[in-house]
Amino acid sequence: MRTLEAKPEKPAFAATQNPCKLCAPLGASLVFRGVENTVGLLHGSQGCSTYIRRYMISHFKEPVDIASSNFSEETAVFGGGENLKTALENVIAQYHPQMIGVASTCLSETIGEDVEKILREFRAAHSTGTLPELLNVSTPSYKGTHMDGFHATVLAITKHLARRSGRQKTISIFPGLISPEDMRYLKQVTRDFDVAAVMLPDYSETLDGGAWDTYHLISPGGTPVAVLREMGSHAASLEFATTLAPEKSAGAYLEQQFEVPHMRMDLPIGVTASDRLFETLSLITGQAVPGVYQTARGRLLDAYADAHKHVFGVPVAIYGEEDWVIALAGFAAEIGMVAVVCASGGHSGQLRSRLLERLPKTIAKTAEILEDVDFSEIEEAARKRQPELLVGNSKGYALARKLDIPLVRVGFPVHDRIGGQRLLHLGVTRVPSVCLTSGSML
């Protein structure tokens, strides 16, 4: 067990028991859903597409098409170039997409496929017609988690599309893996600040839409490719990821390449982190924080006061993506809860130092901060620290049952409750569900 003072040791187990992370191509697939008229294509066995579709659909409850190059045994041995070209042709013919995002899989990475070269050949062979944007991102799951796949794809899209032509007042937002409801909230906030904002990804409509009059092969919504091209001209970029290495950050790339000021912050969960967002927006736009948010902030603090009696001093175990863990632990601290276990399957190496910055010293000093762990290690820490509440995605339910404590479901995936895609985690307008449910559950 890694405690604050101890140096990180090797994990107790070589194998992973009940993982606290998903695979990289899933992250890529999520991001592709956030660009308008875009189809994701996984270069590998069809099982990858099927499993990932199955998982995303069970959370978002929307159609999710992810194409595959359908490797067979032969392809696995001799290479999948022809399969990928056929897949591209068929996707173009059926979907008429504006962009096809090709993400690699463990299979294509293991055999060392040069996807970029295949795409070049494909473009050359189709030089007469107009092709959609063809984008390639490397997402081997043996190198990172779903969040690595997610960020790599955001960066790949940014690198592929962003150009600079003058300077606009628009801002870019790289929100990370948040819910469609969160995305809609952010869009409302920027509208209220009277600033144009471009979100990458923006799956607020594509992964949480209504009934349709006619069927759309590609769900409507998402940020248009043309709009993403202008990212190099934006006034600033906001990125809700503080554990992300600069070389993996789309915001850092825009800053370095096009001198777009880059502001990184924690996910705005709770008052403190939301204040930071509102201040930043105020700074960028030169506008005062709209009154509606000032009122909402007051109401939220009122709710904190109401819930305080129930949540104060309650030890809580938090798990999930690193940036989520930091934001949730920070939020827990501000309502008076004590994060005794902060755990993630990710391994950016930043979790500890970021938590030390974010949490009150007394809490940070004693918390079990665990990176690159699975649920068996989280359980071990939890047994030691006896939390009264678990906060994280649905995959912690077995642990919650074992420990006989409530689980507040947040983040992704939430597939065993209705409305996982509509949870609002961010901002101050509504009492974050975590506070409300925690109060009621305890």
Binding site: A15, T16, C48, I66, S68, S69, P140, K395
Partner: protein, 544 residues
């Protein structure tokens, strides 16, 4: 519609589907979209099945690993399953198929809530992962000390040259009290999860079945094959069997334990539910141990009764027959009450189902029972025999993808082979119409003019929905929200939408109610707002 009109409509629909394809694709799909026509002797048209999905065409199909670990072995609670590969595969097969399990005692081994993976990293991809796999097995032994460990290979494993079988052998020497076996079920093998079923069947047959000879007590001891206890189906079937005085020696593999697998060859009979996923096992057990099998269907109250009567016929035991009849007579009235209430609301409505390798057949019975008709159906990963019946087995073309999956040669076991039926009994049963070791397939049961479609894709589903306006569409979660965007209710027949059980008598009642709820809900009718339906609202302000 008259049967004649139905046929014309089906032809039109098929033409509409094919219109969108390039010539080559259209030619292939034309052989997979078939107008059903049952001729004398249950002869049906040939359908192309179990062929590769075309890259870029979104498929319902999964991979070999999913079929092996997820479907066939996954439901067994006391075998420790270790996925050898990067993390995704293990995560996605972790408790996702809703197979339920019920250990007899709280202390009994149950590893179902665990997902164990070697979580391969780049180091293993480059230098090989066998060392980490061995460590994982050591850890599994230290943690659980199980009776058996299964190792499941994912895509990279075969490519980097890791030998899961060699590791299994080596670790078995280290832990002689544990049965350790590996499955080469890399995702790229075969054309769908069907390859994984076969791989799973083979290994369980060679390395597990027949290790001990403990027959469970009881006069009538049978195995149930291809029942995976989704939503508790096997619990309902077990309840009925118990009432009838039938002992289940082993279920492959819903609510199962290892102990039952190793002594499965002691049963009198194999009853096969899902033909596709487990027919290899039935066939091999027949050859090696002399256990006959027949096809059963416990989906639908009438079908359950029919399957039970088939069982009574097999034994030809007066007492058993009487008991089975009593049970049917006891169970049916409760079913009938619900049927009578719901049927008037569902009668004449139409259903479509595209799922699995057997479910698309089984569920037609349930819909029939409430007066609904299946106008189009197809499988996701079945082979020709599941459509046309096993009589076509000799004429099935063996392509490269099939050839890559080992076909075991099985001889009668000198010690354990025992013919369960003598020739006279076989003749009597045949005269009664019992087809032993046979399955007549889905198409023989479907009406002429219905559309049978293998490996249905998005575009085709869209045409079906637009042309037929089905009252309900059945498939899996991946199709659910696509269909519901059209305002048509969609029932998941993989996970049951967290409902069930739907098997047996009580299951039938659950299903009738569920379909009634889905078909007769008001939600879909509210999609169009009144101002969309009547754009010119005639109204005045009060002061006007």
């Amino acid at each position: 519609m008259s049967p004649y009109d139905e046929k014309i409509k089906a032809e039109e629909v098929k033409a509409e589907m094919l219109k969108a394809y390039p010539t080559k694709v259209a030619r292939k799909r034309a052989r997979q979209i078939i107008l059903n026509e049952v001729q004398a002797g249950d002869v049906v048209p040939e359908i192309k099945a179990n062929t590769r999905t075309i890259p870029g065409i979104i498929t319902m199909r999964g991979c070999s690993y999913a079929g092996c670990k997820g479907v066939v072995l996954g439901p067994t609670r006391d075998i420790v399953h270790i996925t050898h590969g990067p993390i995704g595969c293990s995560f996605y097969s972790w408790l996702t198929r809703r197979n339920q399990t019920r250990p007899e005692k709280a202390t009994d081994a149950n590893y179902m809530p665990y997902a164990l993976s070697t979580d391969m990293q780049e180091e293993q991809i480059i230098f090989g992962g066998e060392k980490k796999l061995k460590q994982a097995i050591d850890e599994a032994v230290a943690l659980f000390n199980p009776k058996a460990i299964g190792i499941y290979a994912t895509c990279p494993v075969g490519l980097i040259g890791d030998d899961v079988h060699a590791v299994a052998r080596e670790m078995e020497e280290k832990y002689p009290h544990i049965n350790i076996f590996g499955f080469s079920c890399e995702g790229y093998k075969g054309v769908s999860q069907s390859a994984g079923h076969h791989i799973a069947n083979n290994k369980v047959f060679t390395d597990v079945v027949g290790l001990t000879h403990n027959r469970k007590p009881g006069k009538f001891v049978v195995n149930l094959l291809g029942e995976y206890n989704i939503g508790g189906d096997a619990f309902e079937i077990d309840r009925i069997f118990e009432k009838c005085g039938i002992t289940v020696q082993a279920t492959f593999s819903g609510n199962s334990v290892y102990e039952e697998f190793i002594s499965a060859h002691m049963a009198d009979l194999n009853m096969v539910m899902c033909h596709r996923s487990i027919n290899y096992m039935a066939d091999m057990m027949e050859k090696k141990y002399g256990i006959p099998w027949f096809k059963v269907n416990f989906i639908g109250a009438e079908s359950t009764a029919k399957s039970l009567r088939k069982l009574a016929d097999y034994y030809g035991d007066k007492e058993l027959t009487a008991r089975i009849e009593t049970v049917i007579a006891e169970e049916m009235p409760a079913v009938k009450i619900v049927q009578d209430e719901i049927k008037p609301r569902c009668e004449g409505k139409i259903a479509m189902m595209f799922v699995g390798g057997s479910r698309a057949h089984h569920y037609q019975d349930l819909f029939n029972e409430i007066g609904m008709k299946t106008v189009s159906a197809g499988y996701e990963f079945a082979h020709r025999d599941d459509y046309e019946g096993r009589k076509v087995l000799p004429s099935i073309e063996v392509d490269a993808d099939t050839r890559n999956i080992e076909e075991l040669t099985v001889q009668p076991d000198p010690q354990s082979y025992k013919a369960r039926l003598d020739e006279t009994r076989k003749t009597t049963l045949a005269a009664k119409g019992m087809a032993l070791n046979d399955y007549e397939g889905m198409m023989a049961q479907m009406d002429n003019g219905s559309l049978v479609i293998d490996d249905l894709n998005h575009h085709e589903a869209e045409v079906l929905i637009e042309k037929y306006h089905p009252d309900i569409f059945c498939a899996g979660v991946k199709e659910k929200y696509v269909v519901q965007k059209y305002g048509i209710p969609m029932k998941q027949l993989h996970s049951y939408d967290y409902g069930g059980p739907y098997a047996g008598f009580k299951g039938a009642v659950n299903f009738y109610k569920e379909i009634d709820r889905m078909i007769n809900t008001k939600i879909w009718g509210m999609i169009k707002a009144p101002w969309d339906i009547h754009p010119q609202v005639v109204a005045k302000y009060g002061w006007e």
